[in-house]
């Protein structure tokens, strides 16, 4: 499966990364080289094999559904690039 420029553009948009048009061919080449190398997985017969999603135990631990933290607006906002009172500041979203 070879990835074309249009696909790279779409993936960049999905990734929310701005890519200059001039950089697209080089990026496509790099990504195609990596995907071409990954392609060898298709030789493995995985019929009926369960996918492994986690790194350890198959079942995650449960905890009580209770509030255990909170009320720390200043700590949460301390690193904000822009804030208005107790809110993060962003460009206008609603027209």
């Amino acid at each position: 499966m070879s990835v074309d420029i249009a696909t790279i553009k779409r993936v960049a948009t999905l990734s929310r990364i701005h890519v200059e048009p001039a950089a697209l061919p080089g990026l496509a080449q790099d990504i195609n080289a990596i995907l071409g190398w990954i392609e060898q997985l298709s030789e493995v017969d995985t019929t009926g094999v369960e996918p492994m999603a986690g790194g350890g135990a198959t079942a995650l631990r449960w905890r009580d559904d209770v509030v255990s933290d909170g009320g720390q607006a200043e700590a949460v906002l301390a690193n904000a690039p822009d804030r208005e009172g107790e809110y993060f500041g962003v460009p206008k979203v609603v027209e």
């Binding site: 990364i17 701005h18 996918p51």
Partner: protein, 491 residues
């Protein structure tokens, strides 16, 4: 003997006997950092004043006989661990001047046990790399150099390149590190020091900047196997704040280091004998096998048939998880921001300016393999192959107690080598990545020098939660190797 000559275990004894103060020891390391860090670039941030304050507090506790297991021990912290009040960068521009309001569980436990933090260590950006060349704060230089080519600057490996270089050059007595595909073991091997990635779930991931959550595990890099055992004990333990942390008692790892290997069955996986593997690596491996046989272990030939698929599997799973984890860097809640006309433009410009080329590449590969139409062909397929890789190990454990392999396919390479070919760079992790995919403990131990005088390491892979077995084998390899060579750049 100078203070920086003491190993962690030796420093413990000297501090307890009041032969040296924590302040003297810390000052010796700060002097070493001042002298050598401008060249090696192992530290991104040095916290000299806080270190001396912590050392004074440690001296008071030691005087009162209340010292913890690491009281007064100066450590470097990989700049992927959140440290309350100290800037944490992940070696990325996108975190800007991010100063965590909270402490990672691992650093909190190290502080609990009395450790003194010297500063934050350099790494590949978001731990994505094998040469420390992707850091936004510049590359780290390996303190070792080739005998016949001393002017070529070599990489320390990655991603924990700052951790390994700092320990090797004695800019820290030990260091924290993380390992997603080999990021503890490969740099440890390149720098002639020891490092262990414990079993997935042994160390809490809370407060460690996430790369690929099902593969990431923290562990120590230190001067020798015993020092790693001491540090790992403080770093380990159940943490309710990490849902994958395992509620299991932490053994006294140090007690296992001298246990020996008599009666142990050591597996030699035949698929790790790669075509084109340098003769020196093969010779070192054979030497390691002979050492363990001489020490009373029985050597067993085992097969891990899916080994060759481990790296391609990793380069689907890790970028997929990274693309999801790194979605949080959006220029809104913390970190750097590049303004945009609307929110989407703000995101796209912030992420384009904030992430380096390799991180962008991995986010896009991850996004692609998770996108509609490709999920089954790539991501699901990789998860299935991952099951087969883990199954290979499960079957091998019926025949052996631990595995011995080379740690890396080569010694450290030049700063300008392999940087233009992502796949060539990825091959560095060929022997280490399987342990991450299967969640197993793995340790690199310095075992010899190549013809150019550069360190080479052997790797021990153990069964889940049998770090003690890993330490026993690593200790035996270390005693037999008697590795005493030192790098050219050293405090």
């Amino acid at each position: 003997m100078r203070p920086t000559d003491l190993s962690l275990a030796q420093a413990r004894l000297a501090l307890d006997a009041r032969q040296i103060s924590a302040r003297e020891l810390t000052q010796a390391y700060l002097d070493a950092i001042a002298a050598l860090n401008p060249r090696l670039n192992a530290y991104i941030t040095v916290t000299a004043e806080a270190a001396l304050t912590a050392a004074d507090a440690a001296d008071q506790k030691l005087a009162a006989g209340q010292g913890g297991p690491l009281e007064g021990i100066p450590l470097g912290i990989k700049d992927l661990f959140c440290t309350a009040g100290t800037r944490t960068t992940a070696a990325s521009r996108i975190l800007g001047d991010f100063t965590p309001p909270y402490e990672s569980t691992i650093t909190r436990q190290l502080l609990r046990d009395g450790a003194v933090f010297l500063g934050k260590l350099n790494l590949d950006e978001f731990a994505m790399g094998s040469s420390n060349a992707t850091s936004a704060f510049g590359p780290v230089e390996n303190p070792w150099s080739r005998r016949n080519d001393p002017d070529t600057r070599l990489v320390p490996g990655g991603s924990s390149g700052g951790s390994a270089a700092a320990v090797a050059a004695r800019l820290a007595l030990g260091a924290t590190a993380t390992d997603t595909g080999g990021s503890i073991r490969q740099p440890a091997a390149f720098c002639g020091v020891a490092g262990i990635k414990p079993t997935y779930g042994r160390c809490s991931r809370f407060g460690v900047v996430a790369f690929a959550s099902s593969l990431d595990q923290a562990g120590p890099i230190a001067r020798d196997v015993m020092d790693c055992a001491v540090l790992l004990r403080s770093m380990s333990g159940f943490d309710p704040q990490d849902s994958t942390s395992v509620d299991m008692a932490v053994p006294d790892f140090a007690a296992a280091v001298g246990r020996g290997v008599r009666g142990m069955r050591i597996g030699i996986p035949r698929e790790y004998r790669m075509a084109g593997m340098p003769a020196e690596i093969e010779a070192l491996w054979q030497q390691g096998i002979a050492w363990l046989r001489d020490a009373g272990a029985s050597i067993v030939d085992v097969s891990l048939p899916h080994t060759k698929y481990a790296l391609p599997t990793y380069y689907i799973v890790a970028p997929a998880e990274a693309s999801s984890n790194l979605a949080r860097y959006d220029g809104v809640r913390f970190g750097a921001r590049v303004p945009g006309a609307d929110l989407t433009e703000l995101y796209e410009k912030t992420r384009a300016a904030g992430f380096g080329a390799e991180v962008q590449r991995r986010i896009m590969i991850g996004t692609y393999v998770l996108s509609a139409g490709y999920y089954d062909a790539y991501y699901l397929k990789a998860q299935q192959v991952r099951t087969l890789i883990k199954r290979d190990f499960d079957l091998a454990w019926a025949q052996c107690d631990a595995l011995l392999t080379p740690a890396t396919p080569s010694a450290a390479f030049g700063l300008d080598e392999k940087q233009d070919d992502p796949v060539a760079m990825y091959l560095n992790d060929i022997f280490t990545v399987t342990a991450n995919l299967a969640g197993l403990p793995g340790m690199a131990v310095p075992a010899g020098l190549d013809g150019q005088g550069l360190p080479l390491g052997l790797q021990i892979i153990g069964q889940p939660f049998d770090e003690e077995g890993v330490f026993a084998v690593a200790g035996a390899v270390e005693r037999a190797a008697g590795f005493s060579a030192r790098p050219g750049v050293i405090a």
